[in-house]
């Protein structure tokens, strides 16, 4: 189509509203966050905001709660994503069959993905209760003692991860399953004709062909796991000690329970930097599929 003046006007009308909105609510806030982070800025005190230089950033390096929250976040992301990937991958192969009824089961298993995370946290909190939780009832069925799922440091982290795994494994299964279904049969037949064993076919053909799907699912899960806050809010509030105090939770409580917006702002900036670095991978891997085609 030719690019007339009218077309330029049409393009402007189509594109500018969304871009303006994103500039206002995505770009401007980044600069504003930097501005805030260079100030002592508290809501709860009559003191007006005042310039603080790099004070807040200096404090971050000294703050063991902040450093702890980084490692807790990393631990959570690793545990949750690894488990989801391994389970989801295996399950995709289980469902990858034309057996009767399997399709219905697969669809049913997808329900957790769209549930409100706050309610997911709520129900797992309830089920994992030390004194009346149904999970502990199962535990006692096996003759064991009730477990302090939410008050033991290690168990609390695993409990949060469990809730996340419950919600997101079906998603991983779905994506890998869909990718499996879209693989052309002829490559496998070619492999067989070349005399490859089934195991060799899996390692040399199936897995490399699934690689893009695995990368995408990893990245999507990583984006969401890094920002997870609902489960911590409902299940542990960051405790015991600081065992489940992920970065988003520490940032949120600093900003909106202690109302230390300046300090929370500096954490936000650090978080944006970390995520941006991570996003580079995304841009290379999937946002530019034309290059790979």
């Amino acid at each position: 189509m030719s690019q007339s003046r009218a077309a330029r006007r049409a393009a402007f009308i189509l594109i500018s509203p969304a871009v303006l909105l994103l500039l206002a609510l995505n770009v401007f806030p980044i600069g504003f966050a930097v501005f805030i982070s260079l100030r002592h800025w508290s809501l709860s005190i009559v003191n007006p905001p005042r310039f603080a230089g790099l004070f807040n950033y200096q404090e971050l390096t000294l703050d063991d709660r902040f450093i702890n929250s980084l490692s807790v976040s990393a631990t959570f992301v690793l545990i949750a994503i690894l488990a989801e990937l391994v389970l989801g991958f295996a399950l995709a192969f289980v469902f990858n069959s034309k057996l009767k009824g399997l399709d219905t089961l697969r669809k049913l298993s997808l329900l957790p993905v769209m549930a409100m995370p706050l309610v997911v946290g709520l129900v797992w909190f309830y089920m994992l209760n030390e004194n009346f939780g149904v999970i502990n009832w199962f535990v006692t069925l096996f003759g064991a003692e009730r477990l302090p799922f939410l008050t033991d440091s290690t168990l609390a982290m695993l409990s949060i991860a469990l809730a996340d795994i419950w919600q997101w494994t079906p998603f991983v299964t779905l994506v890998i399953f869909a990718a499996l279904q879209s693989l052309p049969e002829y490559v496998f037949e070619a492999g067989r004709m070349d005399g490859l064993t089934e195991r060799e076919i899996f390692w040399r053909i199936t897995l490399p062909l699934l690689r893009p799907a695995i990368v995408v699912v990893l990245i999507i899960r990583a984006i969401d796991a890094v920002r997870m806050i609902d489960l911590v809010f409902m299940m542990t509030k960051g405790g015991p000690g600081g065992a489940t105090e992920v970065l988003p939770w520490y940032l949120y409580t600093t900003g909106f329970q202690s109302f230390d917006l300046g300090y929370a702002g500096s954490m936000a900036v650090v978080m944006i930097i970390i995520v941006t670095l991570g996003a580079q991978v995304f841009v290379r891997q999937i946002a530019n599929p034309e290059k790979g085609r």
Partner: protein
């Protein structure tokens, strides 16, 4: 044990849910009839007994007031957050907010001075106990009216103590010794229930326990056994956490941990009393108003078998209990047309008749002299004369949680650091040093020094 306890919780809930609770109405003061006059009052409250009672009798309250009562009841931290967020609005979302005694320092800039309303309406505050009424006075301005002011005291099971020949605990050592005896002899009963949950619960436990050792969280001027709160200067804002008293506090916590029930690291205000009520522990720290949880429950083993003392103290320190609890205040950003309505509702909800009414449904607090002398009220709430006696003896103080603007920050820091000591992730020394540094940082940021 626990199952039964939970069933008890539920009975209370059934009432709240409006299924079975309608026994209310006759004793409502006539002058309150139609206080709302078809309007709606919006109240931001706390999940504490007095507001839970209001929820319970909500339908009746609306009927009497002749209007709608929108009552949002929030947990402690959410309430604090919502009050501060609400202060950011051009126009307040609420006509009345619940303020905890030590929070007045922080909230002062956005609370309406009630003096003009008090004068205009000839309101007489002298029926309130002096400590309760004066607690909300800052620079001569009355910023709130007492609704549920009460102290955190110490409750113990008299029947169990008698069985093992134990005396009422007056010191930390008494508490630990009694707890040990009981744990050794009673299979299902632990020693002490207390606030050990992360955050505000254990943060407040810290400063109140530090008070047991005769120390305040900041460097205030000591007058006799107590501190001068009337004249806090910037140099008094220096934290005093990394001290011998701070260390003693954490060591006491570690000792308590040995004699606490399961799940203690998640236990806070409500749960500790419920466990105590059902016999899960022989002693508990308790905000006196919550004693209704077992006093009104005919099936609770603790009912009628509880003795009260003020906070047991550390060595060579006097017995002191922290005064706190809830006041009704009017935010400054309220729609000016609604101020009179808000004030009328305050008058109504804090009237002697209403305060007496709350005691029937689960709130054992009587901030008014006329109510606390009422024999019927005392029969329902045996804790009330104990609290009055403590007040008379000068045992109830507020300096453990001085109402400075930074009090919640102090509590937040202590709430995170102390919990790490209890989970074994941090040594006592490290936690104290770190807490001291973080609070000092807050004070410097607020430019006190």
């Amino acid at each position: 044990m626990f199952r039964k306890m939970m069933k008890e919780n539920i009975r209370g809930a059934a009432c709240i849910l409006g299924a079975t609770c309608l026994a209310f109405g006759a004793s409502i003061p006539a002058h309150a009839q139609g206080v709302l006059d078809g309007k709606t009052i919006r109240i931001l409250g706390i999940g504490d007994p007095v507001f839970q009672v209001m929820q319970q009798i909500h339908g009746d309250l609306e009927e009497i007031a002749g209007g709608e009562i929108q009552l949002d009841v929030r947990p402690f931290d959410v309430l604090h957050q919502q009050v501060l967020l609400n202060a950011q609005n051009d126009l307040s979302n609420y006509d009345l907010i619940a303020v905890d005694l030590p929070q007045f320092g922080e909230y002062r800039p956005f609370l309406t001075n009630l003096n003009p309303l008090i004068e205009e309406n000839d309101y007489d505050g002298s029926d309130f106990h002096d400590v309760a009424w004066n607690g909300a006075q800052f620079g001569g301005n009355q910023l709130g009216v007492p609704l549920q002011p009460h102290p955190e005291i110490f409750a113990y099971r008299t029947d169990v103590f008698e069985k093992y020949g134990l005396d009422a605990p007056r010191t930390h050592d008494d508490v630990l010794a009694a707890a040990k005896t009981i744990e050794e002899n009673e299979a299902d009963m632990s020693g002490v229930c207390w606030n050990a949950a992360r955050g505000t619960p254990i943060g407040q436990s810290f400063i109140m326990t530090q008070g047991d050792f005769g120390a305040a969280p900041i460097d205030m001027v000591k007058v006799g056994d107590d501190f001068d709160m009337g004249n806090i200067q910037p140099e008094n804002m220096k934290p005093t956490i990394d001290t011998a008293e701070g260390e003693a506090t954490l060591n006491y916590f570690l000792a308590l941990l040995e004699v606490s029930p399961p799940g203690i690291l998640n236990m806070a205000w409500d749960e500790r009393v419920r466990v105590f009520a059902q016999g899960g522990c022989a002693m508990t720290y308790i905000w006196s108003g919550r004693s209704a949880i077992y006093e009104l429950d005919e099936d609770a083993p603790a009912r009628g078998n509880v003795g009260y003392v003020s906070h047991p103290s550390g060595p060579d320190s006097p017995n002191r209990s922290t005064l706190g609890g809830w006041y009704l205040s009017i935010p400054t950003n309220i729609d000016p047309d609604r101020v009179d309505l808000a004030w009328n509702v305050i008058e109504w909800l804090t009237s002697p008749e209403m305060i007496a009414e709350y005691t029937k449904h689960g709130n054992c607090v009587a901030p008014r002299k006329s109510v606390s002398a009422d024999p019927e009220v005392i029969a329902r709430c045996p804790v009330i004369p104990h609290v009055n006696q403590m007040a008379e003896d000068g045992f109830l103080q507020g300096w453990q949680r001085p109402p400075v603007p930074e009090i919640q920050k102090i509590v937040d820091v202590l709430g995170a650091e102390s919990h790490q000591v209890l989970t074994g992730d941090k040594s006592v020394k490290d936690a104290l040093a770190s807490a001291q540094r973080l609070i000092d940082r807050e004070m410097r940021k607020a430019q006190y020094y």
